[in-house]
Subunit: 212 residues, 2 copies
DNA sequence: CCAAAAAATGACCGTTAGTCAGTAAATAGA
DNA sequence: TCTATTTACTGACTAACGGTCATTTTTTGG
């Protein structure tokens, strides 16, 4: 009697449908403007049903954050695979993050939303936990490629792999965030194009990282 | 007949009183949890009156952002005054930003809120405009000390003062943001103390900046 | 076919940002 | 000092939204 298993699958399917509906609505109107009634209508369900699958609006959004984080981690893994040494892999991760920011701005927004959240790993919010683990995995990959760079000599000695990974993560998020919110003003008031600033960031960072 | 002038002063005074009340309430309960009724009660005014002085809750909060930005800019100016050369001044600005983050976490939060806002300099929001100008002034100071460092030889050639100022602003905000939201997890899951990461950031950055 | 369980519904609730018609206070002219 | 007018203030009210729950509909297993 595989009924229970089928029900499980159907439940998971419904959940995915809700996530897709939420994605459409939230990525169009933005998190604040999007209402749970909008999502319910898009999913062709009643609002009450949404709350059988997610315990709050935030939890729904965190499902999108998780999707984004998974996507990013996969992109990192793929980008790293082709590169010859540690430093190139670090660079590839950086470029991938920038590409992610450009190609999936909505997911990037979602990730920034998560970054703004104070982690509460004791909370009941399953999504938050999963997202944290996903980001931890991405960070592990990042750390390991820096270690590789130390071993193969492409990265200068006396950098700490774990701290550097965290540092570059924070730094690049900050720079992209600055550009995302103030990009237009950058062009008009500082004569700096967003693109230029990003290139400058890469140059600056790799100057500090490479051996010799 | 100085009546009009006195009224002007009194109006400004009321506005300041409202800002003080908002500060108490918002810094205690947080922006989301604080209600306009709370602020009104604290200011001993009716809610309607608040809306004669500010056009929205966000506008009230932006007044706090502006206060924070002014404070930060003053701290920068003071910190820079005592230093002997450009590189030291840059370092002093960095350390001041970190101190600001530690000593005025509520104002720092407010600044992050502003950083997350997409600038709209055409909007009617006077506060946003003022805040932007304040931050632009801080940035000018930052740019000028980097130029000073280039002239006095403490900072390596081929750094661009304007881009570097923007870059360091974005980078440091990102790192502090990471620590603010994920600091506890950093300690538990990555064996990195927030303090360490900040020191590492400073070291890493000045390695990339200094001459030779 | 039926009773029990599971899933879904949507009217309803509490809260809160923002409004506005009405009231109170201050001002200026006589 | 009295009064008309402008200015400042009030708080009941509205609209909107996140979240709940008693009720209904659908599915399941015998």
């Amino acid at each position: 009697m595989g009924t229970a298993e089928r029900r499980e699958r159907e439940k998971e399917y419904r959940k995915q449908m809700i996530i897709e509906a939420a994605e459409k609505v939230i990525f169009t109107k933005g998190y604040e403007k999007a209402t749970m009634d909008d999502v319910a209508a898009e999913a062709e369900l009643s609002k009450g049903t949404l709350y059988l699958y997610f315990k709050s609006k935030e939890e729904v959004y965190l499902a999108l954050v998780l999707k984004g984080m998974k996507l990013l981690r996969e992109m990192f893994a793929e980008a790293v695979a082709k590169e010859p040494n540690g430093l190139c892999k670090v660079r590839a991760i950086g470029e991938t993050y920038i590409r992610f920011n450009r190609e999936y701005p909505n997911y990037y927004h979602a990730l920034m939303f998560y970054q703004g959240l104070e982690v509460n790993l004791e909370s009941e919010a399953a999504m938050e936990l999963k997202t944290f683990h996903e980001s931890k995995d991405a960070m592990k990959l990042f750390t390991s490629v820096i270690e590789e760079g130390l071993k193969d000599g492409s990265i200068r000695k006396n950098v700490d792999s774990e701290k550097t990974a965290l540092l570059l993560w924070g730094e690049s998020s900050g720079v992209l965030q600055l550009i995302a919110s103030k990009g237009h003003a950058l062009t008009n008031h500082f004569n700096v194009e967003p693109e230029e600033l990003i290139n400058y960031f890469m140059e600056f960072t790799f100057h500090a990282l490479k051996a010799d």
